[in-house]
């Protein structure tokens, strides 16, 4: 029966790409929830569950990425845009790595975040997740409506700028406070762990803009 499906391989691959993008959106939501849990309750069991969930998603996304890359090369699909699609998928995959890395750092180093900085951390995580969401939407539209990619990229840029403002303000507040210098630098590392995700999302959206232009020309 399998062989009788018209364009079956293409549909399967389209499905795999969609699932891969779903994994990134889902991991962004779980990341946000994990940061919220940590800020409210510290590194408890619920935080551990969220960390494990992001880990599992990252592994699944890795497997999907390899399968997609293998299929694109084995069946010499989209010869014109293959390099771009591979580049996009690989750079998107790294976002999940950044989420995972940040949550592992929370779990291993267990930073003590004073009450007054918690809203800043929460806002920063929210903004980073917004940037990633917009990026995933942009990536989805690259496959179907490349002309719409520019709209999503604009949003990614906006959220990244906001995230930068929040992280700068947060760092100033941390270094302006009375806590120990070692504690300050420790907290700064965590601001950067989270903010890096938005920076990376912006880098990916810059590449995506070029890929989309190449498709619309």
């Amino acid at each position: 029966m399998e062989k009788l499906r018209l364009f079956g391989r293409t549909r399967d691959l389209e499905g795999q790409i969609d699932v891969f993008l779903d994994k990134i959106s889902e991991s962004a939501v779980i990341f946000k929830l994990a940061v919220q849990v940590y800020l409210k309750e510290g590194p408890n069991g619920e935080f551990g569950e969220k960390l494990n969930a992001v880990n599992a998603m990252e592994s699944e996304a890795d497997t999907l990425r390899r399968d997609i890359e293998k299929a694109l090369y084995t069946y010499t699909l989209i010869p014109d845009s293959r390099g771009d699609v591979l580049g996009l998928i690989e750079t998107l995959d790294q976002i999940m790595g950044l989420f995972e890395g940040a949550l592992w750092a929370f779990d291993i180093e267990q930073p003590d975040i004073p009450e007054e900085f918690r809203p800043g951390f929460e806002k920063l995580a929210d903004m980073v997740v917004e940037a990633v969401d917009a990026l995933v939407l942009g990536a989805r539209s690259f496959f179907r409506t490349p002309a719409a990619v520019a709209d999503y990229n604009h949003k990614v840029m906006l959220y990244e700028k906001e995230a930068d403002k929040i992280s700068t303000r947060l760092k100033k507040e941390i270094f302006g406070s009375d806590i120990e210098l070692a504690h300050k630098t420790h907290l700064r590392n965590f601001v950067e762990h989270i903010d890096n995700v938005a920076d990376w999302a912006e880098d990916v959206s810059d590449r995506l803009a070029i890929y989309a232009i190449k498709r619309t020309v």
């Binding site: 293409t10 549909r11 699909l77 014109d80 845009s81 690259f142 496959f143 498709r215």
Partner: protein
């Protein structure tokens, strides 16, 4: 059957081989060059449909070539086809794009001049005018098709991978249509000059089908083209794919389809009869150059995307090649016939 027939037919078969090696690239070159279709797939489809087109619809254009010069003696036909084949081979070696149509027309005129036969100027004008109409028509069709295809793709919001899959299928279908049209339109170039000499006897298969001398020639010519496709066209396809510069798979499909439509228009007796029945002006059944058709199509797409994409020097070289081919074939034919008649003592007309 006289064994000398086979010897005289070799020049036509050589020309068929050259046509297969060169013109298959016009049909599948962009598809294979852009890696959308494998060479093996392209070669099998191309060979099959070229033979089919030649045997089923090859008669229309052959009739027109026959009017230009009815070469009644086999040695004369041999030299005409040989001069065309040498011209094609020389031009290809010189790196100039070449048309077998123009080569064979040059050869026939060479024969007419040598044998002091009058050249039917009306037919000649019709043929030569198609050399200008063909690329222009291909460009116009390419513009319309490209606009239609891109608009449909834009509106349908197909996934990139689905577009890719559909384009591959479309390239294979358009390629098959192109190969059929190439066989129908260009078989006259390969064996057309041998038809008036009627080298074969009509075969009857079980009393049900008759296989005329012309159809046997078309089959033989089709097979020669298929051998050319299988043995030598890969290199030319890769060159066409890369020389044209960057061409998207969708543009490649449009180029192949437009080229095929033009070749079909100039070969279809059915269409001619239909137009005539409606009282509309008919399209002359003339062997046109598939190279001109594909170049016209690509230029049409380039015009639509902005004229900056055209390399005028390359285009100039192509046009120069078109002018030089019939001249070269005519001169070779004239000199060759002189030797064939006076040195080898053959009757050439």
């Amino acid at each position: 059957m006289d064994p000398s027939i086979i010897i005289f037919l070799t020049s036509g078969l050589f020309l068929g081989w050259a046509l297969g090696a060169n013109d298959a690239a016009n049909v599948f070159g962009t598809a294979v060059g852009t890696k959308m279709v494998r060479f093996g797939t392209a070669a099998v489809i191309c060979s099959l449909f070229v033979i089919l087109g030649a045997v089923v619809s090859g008669a229309g254009t052959s009739h027109t070539l026959g009017k230009l010069g009815a070469i009644s003696a086999l040695p004369g036909a041999f030299m005409t086809a040989l001069s065309a084949a040498i011209a094609v081979y020389t031009m290809t070696k010189a790196g100039l794009p070449v048309s077998t149509t123009q080569a064979i027309v040059g050869g026939i005129i060479g024969w007419n001049l040598f044998s002091a036969s009058p050249t039917d100027t009306k037919t000649l004008t019709t043929i030569v005018s198609t050399w200008f109409i063909c690329p222009v028509l291909a460009a116009v069709i390419a513009i319309v098709v490209y606009k239609g295809v891109t608009l449909t793709l834009h509106r349908s919001k197909l996934h990139l991978l689905r577009t890719d899959a559909y384009t591959r299928t479309a390239l294979i279908l358009a390629g098959a249509f192109g190969a059929y049209s190439l066989g129908a339109n260009n078989i006259a170039n390969v064996v057309g000059v041998f038809i008036p000499a009627e080298p074969f006897e009509t075969l009857s298969i079980g009393g049900l089908f008759t296989f005329s001398s012309a159809q046997q020639l078309f089959l033989l010519g089709g097979l020669a083209i298929a051998v050319g496709v299988a043995t030598y066209s890969k290199k030319v396809m890769m060159t066409v794919g890369s020389e044209l510069g960057h061409i998207s798979p969708v543009a490649a499909f449009v180029a192949v389809l437009s080229h095929s439509i033009v070749l079909f228009l100039f070969a279809s007796r059915g269409l001619e009869a239909w137009l005539a029945s409606k009282g509309l002006p008919t399209i002359p059944l003339v062997p046109v150059s598939s190279s001109q058709a594909v170049v016209g199509s690509v230029v049409g797409i380039a015009i639509l995307k902005g004229i900056g994409g055209i390399q005028w020097r390359v285009l100039g070289r192509i046009v120069l090649g078109w002018a030089a081919t019939p001249l070269l074939a005519g001169v070779i034919c004239f000199i060759g016939l002189f030797f064939l008649q006076n040195v080898f003592g053959q009757v050439v007309n």
